[in-house]
């Protein structure tokens, strides 16, 4: 029978002593979805994942896979397989034996297990690697073996615990794409945990941002980036400018925030007495004369204090009158401002829509 969800987490709480590592979390993952749980280390995402795998047991709540409760089902009996952070390839076995391991545990005959492992290795692009020692593989190849070892069992759900953490930057970028493609070809549900927002943004269909045992927001990468629900999400996902001030006046979603210097900025959102305002660097418009920014509600004068050149991700730090910290903006790659130097005067501005305001 087809169930409309592969995984349901229902009010799951896990306590270690008085500390709640996972605090009343609920969510569902649809079949074929690439779902990520993003959060800083210690936010409880690993504990949550280990509960799904069956290595930890929830203090309360239910974990259902295709509608069946997994409470009391040991890890070796769950239709869930995990790619470990360290990959945990068995060094005492060959690549082929690693992939066939789960099948032989299920009682599949040796010959058939080998045959299926062989086919699986072929599908992940490791044809002819069956006899190699796992220690003789490159980082990317090891990665693929770890995933093949899970996929060969045709699990309902594959859990991935920051498997790209140990790779160097170039390979990590490459593996992000490869992992996404792999998930597409096999059409298996992936639950991926990471502290790296770029990994989550690039690969996921949906992301849950987790902090201190709770989910802050669940949504598509674009939703999280453009419409963060909480200040934590706004600052954790993507680069941003962040200012603290007092709510000056508010009406109908529009809000003015008075900064400690007395400067007032216009934004969108809700706040009580204290307010936090966030603006993405790419939302900050730059101009050589203030007239070009005439229609923007937020306009300020500043001077470039640093040019942080990083190719497409280059940015400028601008010492701006009224702001304690420099305003960060994207360095224009073309046009009159592309060659701007430290010390040059510049005008900055942004729309009220681009600035998200939250209660502090």
């Amino acid at each position: 029978m087809a169930h409309s969800t592969d995984l349901d987490i229902v009010n799951v709480t896990k306590r270690f002593g008085a500390h709640a590592a996972v605090d009343d979390v609920s969510f569902s993952v649809a079949p074929g979805e690439f779902f990520s749980i993003l959060g800083p280390s210690g936010c409880g995402k690993t504990t949550l994942m280990r509960m799904i795998a069956g290595f930890e047991h929830p203090t309360s709540g239910d974990i259902r896979i295709r509608g069946k409760s997994m409470i009391g089902v040991p890890a070796n009996k769950r239709p869930v397989n995990m790619v470990f952070q360290s990959l945990a390839l068995f060094p005492m076995m060959s690549v082929g034996e690693n992939v066939a391991y789960g099948l032989t545990c299920r009682g599949v005959s040796r010959a058939e297990a080998e045959e299926r492992a062989h086919r699986m290795l072929e599908r992940v692009g490791l044809k002819g690697f069956g006899e190699r020692r796992v220690t003789a593989l490159s980082g990317g190849q090891r990665q693929r073996v770890a995933i093949a070892r899970c996929l060969v069992l045709e699990p309902t759900l594959v859990l991935l615990d920051e498997p790209l953490g140990a790779l160097d930057l170039k390979l990590r970028e490459h593996m992000k794409i490869e992992l996404k493609q792999l998930q597409g070809t096999f059409n298996t549900t992936f639950v991926y945990i990471t502290h790296d927002q770029s990994e989550a943004l690039v690969m996921s269909d949906r992301i849950a941002v987790m902090n201190q045992g709770k989910f802050e927001q669940v949504g598509s990468p674009r939703e999280l980036y453009h419409n963060p629900a909480t200040p934590f999400v706004a600052s954790f996902v993507g680069e941003t400018n962040r200012w603290q001030g007092e709510a000056a006046s508010a009406s109908n979603g529009a809000i003015s925030v008075r900064l400690p210097s007395g400067a007032v900025v216009q934004g969108q959102g809700r706040a009580g007495q204290g307010a936090l305002a966030f603006v993405r660097p790419e939302a900050v418009a730059l101009a050589q004369d203030s007239g070009a920014l005439g229609n923007l509600p937020n306009r300020f004068e500043g001077r470039v204090s640093a040019v942080l050149f990083d190719g497409a991700a280059s940015s400028l730090l601008i010492d701006t009158v009224g702001f304690e910290q420099p305003v960060r903006a994207v360095l224009p790659q073309v046009g009159p401002l592309a060659g701007i130097e430290v010390g040059a005067p510049v005008h900055v501005g942004w729309t009220a829509d681009a600035m998200k305001v939250f209660a502090a």
């Binding site: 795998a53 069956g54 290595f55 040991p74 890890a75 070796n76 009996k77 869930v80 397989n81 995990m82 470990f84 952070q85 360290s86 945990a88 390839l89 068995f90 060094p91 005492m92 391991y101 789960g102 545990c105 299920r106 070892r149 899970c150 069992l153």
Partner: protein, 279 residues
Amino acid sequence: MNRPSLAWKLYIAAFYLFLFAPLMIVAIFAFNASPFPSPPWRGFALEWFTGSGTVFGKPGVLVDPIWLSSIGNSFKVAIPVALLAVLLGTVNAWVLERAEFRGKTFLAMMMLWPLVIPGVVLGISILAFFSRLANGLEDWLQTDLDFLRPGLGLVVLGQLSFILTITTLIIAARLRKFDRSLEEAAFDLGATRMRVLRTVTLPFLWPALIGAGLVALLMSFENFNTTLMLVGSEAPLPITMYGQMREGASPAINAVSLLLMLGVGGIAGVFALTSKAER
């Protein structure tokens, strides 16, 4: 400091000469065709290995029942010691690395303790305790309990008392290096607990188990201090050698020593190979 002076190099050379001189002398004189283990050199002979005793009045090692039986006794002690030390050492290592309970630090300290006790003291304390035990039990059961009296059984226990510390440490060190996620991965892939142990944990521990077993075998074979206090009428090799050395031995003892060196060299070779495989 990377340019060693000539004096330093000479010192190193002299040191290694000093290290090997006694062993070389022992080995060389095993082949001397003389009734006494001393110079002058009277020609090469294998008499002290295989001779029947017609030439020098005493038989060679490989035919002399005294030597053969003491070598046999040494094996009778060393093999059970090695097997028990590896088996129990593995359980102990598990306790040290995996179990959680109150008083674990204390237990770990206690396990190290036997290393700081002089061998002679270990010997007499076990002798005294087991004699009291034997006396008490014999009175109560009205039967003889010879295995609690000095003899090979007690020697096994006496050697085990400190060799267990060594094997525990060797196996625990290996277990500490084990990545627990390997076990979890196997379990996650559907293996039962027993299967995880058999297919993942034990294969990982294997080099350490072999290594610990060989170390235990060697330590048992050459132990003298503890054994001396617990030995009965059947003497293992070191006890026999000691007795002969006090009386003034024939070169047969050189022949025994050479065999020992070759045996140790062989075991050390196996050990080096397994520890290479470990890496």
